[in-house]
């Protein structure tokens, strides 16, 4: 009996791919049902959660796994968004091509910048990417085909007619964003569990040791940067679809919000990225509820989201430094170990 149990469990362990695909399918199905039953506002927020989750996912891959701290995810999001907008405006391909072009162009920029960045680490890399986040989106003001501060609109059109007249625009956005995010997160999850993921982890934890076992740490870092930029580019294109492709969409505060989300979610847990996205969308909601109690003061109201975010960050660092998802897993593992020890005794 015990032997069979062991065999089955090891079979499952050996086929995590199937389990993952099942998890993502289930999640997608739940979201589909959910999207049908909530108000348009919630669907809109759902799309934003998906987009933030994807952006956070890109940062988890880069920072949590490959150990490169980027403050400039917003810049890659901008690149993806502009690529998507220009593709859609000038070529009008099917939407999927638009989004693929966002990934490819952003990844290309990521490879170029990552090539330089691989030589930098820690605060120097953070500084470089910070400059990128600050400077890059404003380039749009220099070239008229990028639309200046007014920005570009790229239109993915309304939902196909067969979905019915009740199918709102934002539900369509939500479907696209959620689907793209689920597919991408599945893809990232698989990479992270592959030898690439392990190599990144090794390079992050001890570069010298990683090199000693024959890993080319620099090359791996560039690869991480490239993939991360591509994923961020897709998130940016999705954000551009819901909002606008303009410099003021991809501000420094967007980059910071994504880092905040990643830290709150736990930098080493991809599943946490959905939680991170949720938190980023919920904070302003909570802030509004709280600020209702403080009367009309604009000064108080404007600062409440910052206050909540700050508090959450402090609490996270104090109590769940690896994020609640990671903490939960840790807790479960401990419990299991205790149970095993008990069995042994």
């Amino acid at each position: 009996m015990l032997k069979r149990k062991h065999e089955e469990s090891s079979k499952r362990e050996h086929n995590p791919y199937r389990r993952r695909i099942l998890f993502f399918l289930l999640l997608g199905w739940a979201l589909l049902l959910l999207g049908d039953r909530v108000s348009e506002l919630r669907v809109y927020q759902g799309a934003l959660i998906a987009i933030y989750a994807l952006a956070i996912g890109s940062l988890i891959l880069l920072t949590g796994y490959s150990g490169q701290l980027s403050l400039g995810q917003g810049a890659f999001m901008a690149i993806g968004a502009y690529a998507a907008a220009l593709t859609q405006i000038y070529l009008q391909p099917p939407i999927i091509i638009t989004f693929i072009s966002a990934v490819v162009v952003a990844a290309l920029f990521g490879a170029i910048i990552g090539g330089g960045a691989a030589r930098l680490s820690g605060p120097y890399l953070a500084g470089t990417t910070l400059a990128l986040a600050l400077g890059l989106p404003t380039l749009a003001n220099l070239f008229s085909f990028l639309g200046g501060e007014t920005g570009l609109y790229f239109d993915v059109g309304i939902a196909p007619e067969r979905f019915g007249s009740e199918f709102t625009l934002y539900k369509w956005f939500f479907w696209i964003a959620a689907l793209a995010t689920l597919i991408m997160l599945f893809f990232i999850q698989n990479i992270l569990k592959s030898r690439y993921g392990r190599a990144w982890k090794a390079g992050r934890s001890n570069p010298a040791a990683a090199q000693l076992v024959g890993l080319h740490v620099g090359r791996r870092k560039v690869l991480a940067f490239t993939i991360s930029a591509g994923v961020a580019g897709l998130a940016g294109a999705l954000l551009g679809m819901v909002s606008l492709v303009a410099p003021s969409t991809f501000t420094l505060s967007l980059s910071f919000a994504i880092i905040t989300g990643a830290v709150l979610a736990g930098l080493t847990s991809l599943t946490g990225s959905i939680l991170g996205g949720l938190v980023l969308v919920i904070i302003p909601e909570i802030a509004e509820m709280v600020s209702g109690n403080f009367g009309e003061s604009e000064a108080v109201r404007a600062n409440i989201p910052g206050l909540i975010t700050g508090l959450l960050l402090i609490l996270t660092v104090l109590f769940t430094p690896n994020g609640p998802a990671e903490q939960w897993r840790h807790h479960q593992e401990k419990k299991k170990q205790k149970a095993l020890e008990k069995q042994k005794n």
């Binding site: 506002l41 200046g148 501060e149 934002y170 909002s243 606008l244 003021s248």
Partner: protein
């Protein structure tokens, strides 16, 4: 291990059930018409209260609220009180989109009114799609001529005379009065400025120096480069077609540099109080600058509308410094109140739009030119009067008071005529 996997599955399943249950209970109840109850009508706006265009324009929405408070204090509209929600978009189009989503999805307003900015309104309409949602967007604070396109913007009513009309009329004036002089233009490099360029083209005006600027960059540093260019080219007449902060920056830097051209301020950026408040320019220095307006000057206390708005401002707007921004806000609000009244005792969004189409051209407002609303036209005011600033910063007509120039936003002629503005209704309330 199996046990724990089963347990996990159970947890996941129950979580899904819980979420679905929550979702089912969240389906909203359908009201008769969004934002309308037996005792209230909810409307909202997005405007810059802070940010680069905040100075001056931040006064527009509070002025609207002041007028609505006045209407509410006098019984409201058909027994309903107007509930007015103001959202700060910092003049950033993506933020306007976000805030408009809040207005229509969360606050569930009946209509949006008086949103400010060309790029902002374009973003709102293309992204949130007010048109296909059927959400009215009344008397927006922009003069972009493109908004009069009913096919493209089926629920939008612009009120201001268009930038294109302005450029055509002032272009004609420039040709007549400044022939042979070196003329320069500073303009905002977006749809707002492009609209004016088309107008100048139809008027046949050519500028010796043309300086575009990007919205958001209009500070003293950028203005210094403008003034250097203009002074180096010995430009004698400078037309500034930008927001008030751009006018203020240009005038401030020119004053410090001792450069004194004949200024022409576009109507958008011509509020004397804001210009002087933004810079170290003494108000007397504006003396002789040309500008145009479709509204009476805020300092003209002989005008019945100005007098009335000043009274409302004293009681309902904490006696804020009265200027053109406050006038524009209250005037727009007055138009909104009349539109809501015209929509009848059981207002619907469709009914509101139909009411403006049929009666909008007869609404009482402070603007001098006729209003062009009809079943086929979405053009608001159709012209301007030309004025010169005096020592105290008031705009004084260059011709007899009430002389206006009307035209269209295409290649139609500019016609000189006299204003036939409706009189102020009793107590300034919709009747």
């Amino acid at each position: 291990m199996i046990g724990s996997f089963r347990k996990k599955g159970l947890v996941a399943a129950s979580a899904i059930v819980a979420i679905a249950g929550l979702a089912l209970s969240a389906v909203p109840a359908q009201a008769a018409e969004v934002g309308v109850t037996a005792t209230s009508i909810k409307i909202g706006t997005t405007v810059p209260l802070t940010g680069i265009a905040g100075p001056g324009y931040a006064k527009v929405a509070p002025a609207m609220k002041a007028y609505f408070d006045y209407v509410n204090a006098n019984g409201g509209i058909n027994g309903r009180k107007i509930e007015f929600i103001i959202k700060d978009d910092r003049y950033l189009p993506p933020v306007s989109v976000e805030k408009t989503n809040e207005l229509i999805l969360k606050d569930k307003v009946f209509a949006t009114v008086g949103q400010l900015g060309t790029a902002n309104n374009l973003a709102i309409n293309s992204r949130v799609r007010l048109g296909s949602r059927g959400v009215p967007s009344l008397f927006v604070n922009t003069g972009f001529s493109g908004f009069a396109d009913k096919k493209k913007f089926p629920t939008l009513f612009p009120l201001f005379s268009s930038y294109r009309m302005e450029a055509k009329i002032m272009g004609g004036y420039i040709k007549e009065n400044f022939a042979g002089k070196k003329i320069g233009l500073i303009y905002q490099n977006d749809d707002f400025g492009a609209d004016a360029l088309k107008g100048f083209e139809s008027a046949g005006v050519k500028f010796d120096v043309s300086i575009p600027y990007v919205s958001g960059t209009q500070g003293a540093a950028t203005a210094t480069t403008w003034i250097q260019k203009l002074a180096a080219a010995k430009v004698e007449v400078v037309y500034i077609f930008g927001v008030t902060t751009a006018t203020a920056a240009a005038v401030g830097v020119a004053f410090a540099a001792g450069y004194k051209p004949q200024w022409i301020f576009g109507s958008v950026g011509a509020d004397a109080t804001t210009i002087v408040g933004q810079t170290t320019v003494p108000v007397a220095l504006l003396n002789g600058a040309l500008s145009m307006s479709f509204m009476p000057d805020a300092a003209d206390t002989t005008d019945e509308y100005v007098k009335f708005f000043r009274e409302v401002n004293t009681t309902y707007n904490n006696n804020a410094t009265f200027d053109n921004n406050i006038m524009a806000g209250m005037n727009g609000a007055m138009m909104v109140a009349q539109a809501l009244k015209a929509a009848g005792p059981n207002p619907t969004r469709k009914g509101l739009i139909a009411a403006i189409e049929s009666k909008g051209s007869t609404f009482a407002s402070a603007g001098y030119p006729p209003i062009g609303f009809s079943a086929t036209s979405r053009v608001g005011y159709t012209g301007f009067w030309i004025g010169k600033y005096n020592q105290t910063g008031s705009l004084i007509p260059v011709e007899a008071k009430g002389t206006i120039y009307t035209t269209d936003s295409a290649n139609g002629p500019v016609v000189k005529t006299t204003s036939k503005r409706p009189a102020l209704p009793t107590k300034g309330l919709p009747n």
